[in-house]
């Protein structure tokens, strides 16, 4: 049984070892903390790289092939976050809590693992809370900045509220079905009014986590206040896990209620993509801007859920993988520029190409990938989610989403314009970022270019989904 939950066990071991490392590497040796966190994550990822299908605790825990692939993807993403977090944790006011950052991040990841492989609402809820509550600590890590504290408060309050909603939905489902196990619920869910209400509550709860419109209000403030690596972590890992869980729960237990779900999802997708895109145009703070961008990306991810089936699942996992590479590259650049110039507004990027051409190039390619420009991976991932939703006949939703890609291209190009075209007398000076950050950017860049051109990754997801 312990082998069955191998991924969770190695992750817990990594967490415990990090606790020990935190005790050993006191200042001035704190710089070894990042190295040890990176190495532990590498070992953890390598140990669990072969996907397995396991079940444990009498059906309470069920990890399918695709969810075990998803765990590998998320742990790789977390590894990238660790690689870019080092420079932020070098600062005078943050270095004493470097150890805590890694430990807390790992515990949220553990929560996501359980959430994704839950076979019952109980384990799902425990995992969700484990992923949410420590996250509030991460958001407030920069507590000397009042935005960070505010962001943490907003996050925890919204998170609690959405958990409450979701719990209410789950209790209604339990009330009508008499069980919390997914396997047994499937047959008992037939779409009675009470069950529809439960579904709406449940969806609203997860909508908060995914920051879908109209549950997105917390996102911009939280992303803006949180440190750049944490915003990055929130935007891809946390969102990816929530999206995957939503998809697998819909596939697993709401099979009989597809019609109700589709209507709900279509409305939310259109609202999410459109509203987020329109708000993103006006943002000048890049973190806030990326918050709106990530809301709209969540809308695109939901298109795969709308598509449903094995194809939807593989498109969703693929989309998240590509999204991790592109978004983490952008947050790494934002974090680096913030570190060296103290600025996160778009004007700080004017003329960046002249002083830091490599950084500007990575940023450009990542933005192109987010906008869905070939030959970068974002183009392929967008195409597949569109295709999966189109296949089920939702072509009006797909069309609206496509029109929105034009709006998104506009605001992504505004940053490209700032870096390449807008003249600036005093651009951010030339600097050399730490080795780990550069390695992280390199991995992200490789992901942006290769994930699309090499079809093997998508093929693998399709085979396993």
């Amino acid at each position: 049984m312990l082998i069955a939950i191998q991924a969770e066990i190695t992750l817990t071991a990594a967490l415990v070892l990090m606790l020990v490392a935190d005790l050993i590497f006191k200042e001035p040796n704190h710089k070894y903390l990042q190295a040890s966190a990176v190495i532990l994550m590498l070992i953890h990822t390598a140990l669990n790289i072969v996907p397995t299908d396991t079940e444990a605790f009498g059906g309470m825990y069920h990890s399918s092939m695709i969810s075990s692939v998803m765990k590998t993807i998320l742990s790789t993403g977390t590894l990238l976050v660790f690689m870019q977090a080092g420079q932020w944790l070098e600062r005078e006011d943050t270095r004493h809590k470097a150890g805590e950052f890694y430990i807390i991040t790992l515990s949220t990841l553990l929560g996501m693992y359980f959430m994704m492989s839950a076979g019952s609402f109980i384990l799902f809820y425990v995992g969700l809370e484990l992923a949410s509550i420590p996250m509030a600590c991460l958001v407030t890590m920069d507590k000397k900045r009042h935005e960070s504290a505010e962001a943490g408060a907003k996050f925890i309050l919204n998170s609690m509220f959405s958990s409450g909603l979701m719990l209410y939905g789950m209790s209604l489902i339990y009330g009508t079905c008499g069980t919390t196990y997914f396997e047994d619920i499937t047959a008992a869910l037939t779409g009675t009014p009470l069950q529809i209400m439960a579904t709406v509550f449940f969806f609203a709860g997860l909508g908060f986590k995914l920051s879908l419109v109209p549950f997105h209000m917390w996102t911009p403030d939280t992303y803006q206040g949180a440190p750049a690596p944490v915003s990055g972590y929130l935007s891809v890992i946390s969102k990816g896990a929530a999206a995957f869980t939503l998809m697998s729960i819909i596939l697993k237990i709401f099979g009989n209620m597809t019609a109700q779900w589709n209507l709900l999802l279509s409305i939310v997708i259109v609202a999410t993509i459109t509203v987020a895109n329109l708000f993103a145009i006006k943002q000048t703070n890049l973190k806030r801007f990326m918050a709106y961008s990530s809301i709209s990306q969540a809308g695109y991810i939901m298109l795969a859920v709308l598509g449903g089936g094995a194809m939807g699942m593989s498109s969703l996992v693929y989309y998240i993988t590509v999204y991790i590479a592109a978004n983490l590259a952008i947050f790494a650049v934002i974090g680096t520029v913030e570190q060296y110039s103290g600025r996160v507004d778009r004007d700080a990027y004017n003329g960046l190409y002249k002083t830091n051409p490599k950084l500007a190039l990575v940023m450009t390619l990542a933005l192109f990938s987010l906008a869905g420009i070939p030959p970068f991976a974002g183009f392929f991932s967008k195409f597949f989610v569109f295709a999966s939703a189109f296949r089920e006949g939702h072509w009006i939703v797909v069309f609206i989403a496509l029109i929105n890609t034009i709006i998104s291209l506009y605001y992504y190009l505004l940053i490209v314009k700032a870096m390449y075209i807008t003249p600036n007398d005093s651009p951010v000076s030339t600097f050399r970022s730490p080795a780990f950050t550069r390695a992280c950017l390199l991995v992200c860049l490789a992901g942006i270019i290769l994930l699309g051109l090499c079809s093997g990754v998508y093929q693998l997801f399709t085979d396993l989904a």
């Binding site: 195409f383 189109f390 296949r391 890609t405 291209l409 506009y410 390449y420 079809s455 998508y458």
Partner: protein, 494 residues
């Protein structure tokens, strides 16, 4: 390796070479070597294609090859050419080659400029060799996005506005295309993305009704279909010389090619239903573009509107749906590509000397820079369809073919469109008279020099191509009309 894949491989190697180049000489060496190889390859391809046809090869596409790429969605990297693609490849390689020389002295950031320029040409070549809708669409978008930076960074005038407008409008078109491609793929039974295979299937009428206008509009935006042509004047006017050449010369042809190859070929019934509406729009493009050109005072704007008119003629001729008119459309693409590239090259050269493109400020250039002035006259005469140049062959074929469509409505459209020939003569001769003749009153302009060697080389290459096409059109004509046959017969049967 398939000969067609080399068209994609060479630009890739060129980009690699540019990446590691350390100085201007190395950059120039890479660009000249690469674009010469492309030109040689396309000439070789044309020769090989003709000899294979003469030897009796009767497949619709030759040099075909297909590698499965994304199997779950039947996406393949499949290539193949017919006569239409062969001449388009020839055109593209000529423009890329001459464009390299036209941007010989470009400053600053020369390396980045050529990197994006090569990426743009990669997209163009990839588009013309593709037989797979997805791959074709991918290359199409690859060709679009470098335009933003090329215009935004190296352009002139209202460059930021123009670059953004162009990119967003063309990407808007590609949003339509993407949904159209999905519609065709699922409409044809979700078994293949290959254009030739889909053409053998019958897409249900109701699907064709919805998706024909979607795809046609998507490509039509790039082909400057009225009222979606507004990106073109601003974009062309702001772009640096070689980019204007490549964009007006080749990129706008992607629109016409796509309309023909995907929209009309795969959805013939849709084309019959929607043809009349689009015919009205293209007729407006033809006449309106020409009339707008008459009142412009900026040399580049005149040419940009002239391009709207001439590219409108391409779509116009395609929608006439006779074999001769479709052949004329392809000839017009070829001829307009060469002429407009030459025009933009000349305007760029004049502009970099006089620093103005306003025809009210230019006088008597014939005495100051005779070579460029003569070049301008040749381009102008070719543009207004003087026999002996490519423009005459193309327009003659277009209008003859269009008149063969005996339907009254089509005949009226043809007659309206022919008026553009007269208007073209007006705006060309007006400019020639104003800027080339008379006495130069501007002291500064008197000190200017004539073309340098690389500029002369650019112009001479283009003149040879234009005159060659005008004097010996038959081989090209045969090449095209045989390949137009299967597509037109598809339209006629159903």
């Amino acid at each position: 390796m398939n000969i067609l894949s080399i068209f994609v491989l060479i630009p890739l190697l060129m980009m690699l070479g540019l990446w590691i180049s350390r100085n201007l000489n190395q950059i120039r060496t890479v660009m000249v070597t690469g674009s010469t190889m492309l030109l040689a390859l396309s000439i070789y391809l044309a020769a090989a294609y003709i000899s294979m046809r003469n030897a009796g090869a009767d497949a619709e596409m030759l040099f075909t090859d297909s590698i499965s790429w994304y199997a779950p969605l039947d996406i393949c990297y499949s290539v193949g050419v017919d006569g239409i693609s062969v001449v388009m490849l020839l055109l593209s390689s000529i423009i890329v080659f001459t464009g390299t020389f036209a941007s010989w002295k470009l400053q600053p950031l020369t390396k980045e400029y050529f990197l994006w320029y090569t990426l743009l040409s990669l997209g163009v070549f990839g588009f013309f060799i593709s037989n797979d809708m997805f791959t074709m669409f991918m290359f199409y978008e690859v060709a679009l996005i470098p335009m933003y930076l090329l215009i935004g960074v190296w352009g002139s005038g209202k460059k930021e506005y123009a670059a953004m407008k162009l990119t967003l409008m063309l990407m808007g078109g590609s949003a339509f295309l993407l949904i159209g491609i999905l519609g065709i793929y699922y409409g044809a039974g979700a078994e293949t993305m290959n254009i030739l295979e889909i053409a053998q299937k019958h897409i249900p009428l109701e699907i064709q009704k919805i998706f024909f206008p979607v795809v046609f509009l998507g490509f039509g935006v790039l082909g400057a279909l009225f009222p979606f042509h507004t990106w073109s004047p601003d974009g062309h006017a702001s772009a640096p010389t070689a980019v204007s050449m490549l964009h007006a010369g080749v990129l706008m042809k992607l629109g016409g090619y796509g309309c023909f190859r995907i929209a009309m070929y795969l959805m013939p019934e849709g084309a019959q239903i929607w043809g009349d509406l689009f015919l009205i729009l293209t007729t407006i493009s033809v006449v309106y573009g020409a009339l707008s050109a008459v009142v412009q005072t900026d040399l580049k704007y005149i040419n940009a509107y002239s391009s709207v008119s001439h590219c409108g003629l391409v779509l116009f001729a395609l929608l006439m749906m006779t074999k001769v008119s479709a052949t004329g459309a392809i000839l017009q693409m070829l001829s307009h590509g060469l002429m407009t590239a030459m025009f933009f090259a000349l305007i760029g050269m004049i502009y970099c000397r006089t620093h103005t493109r306003d025809i009210r400020e230019l006088r008597g250039l014939m005495k100051i820079m005779p070579f460029l002035a003569v070049g301008y006259i040749i381009a102008g005469l070719a543009n207004l369809g003087l026999p002996g140049f490519s423009g005459f062959v193309a327009e003659m074929t277009v209008f003859t073919g269009s008149f063969q469509n005996a339907d009254l409505f089509h005949r009226i459209c043809t007659i309206i469109a022919t008026t553009s020939i007269v208007v073209t003569a007006v705006y060309i001769l007006r400019v020639v008279g104003k800027i080339l003749y008379g006495t130069c009153t501007n002291e500064e302009h008197l000190k200017l020099t004539d073309a340098t060697w690389e500029e002369r080389f650019t112009i001479i290459c283009l003149v040879i191509a234009i005159a060659g096409l005008g004097l010996a059109p038959y081989w090209v004509n045969d090449l095209i009309s045989n390949s137009v046959e299967p597509i037109i017969s598809q339209l006629a049967v159903k």
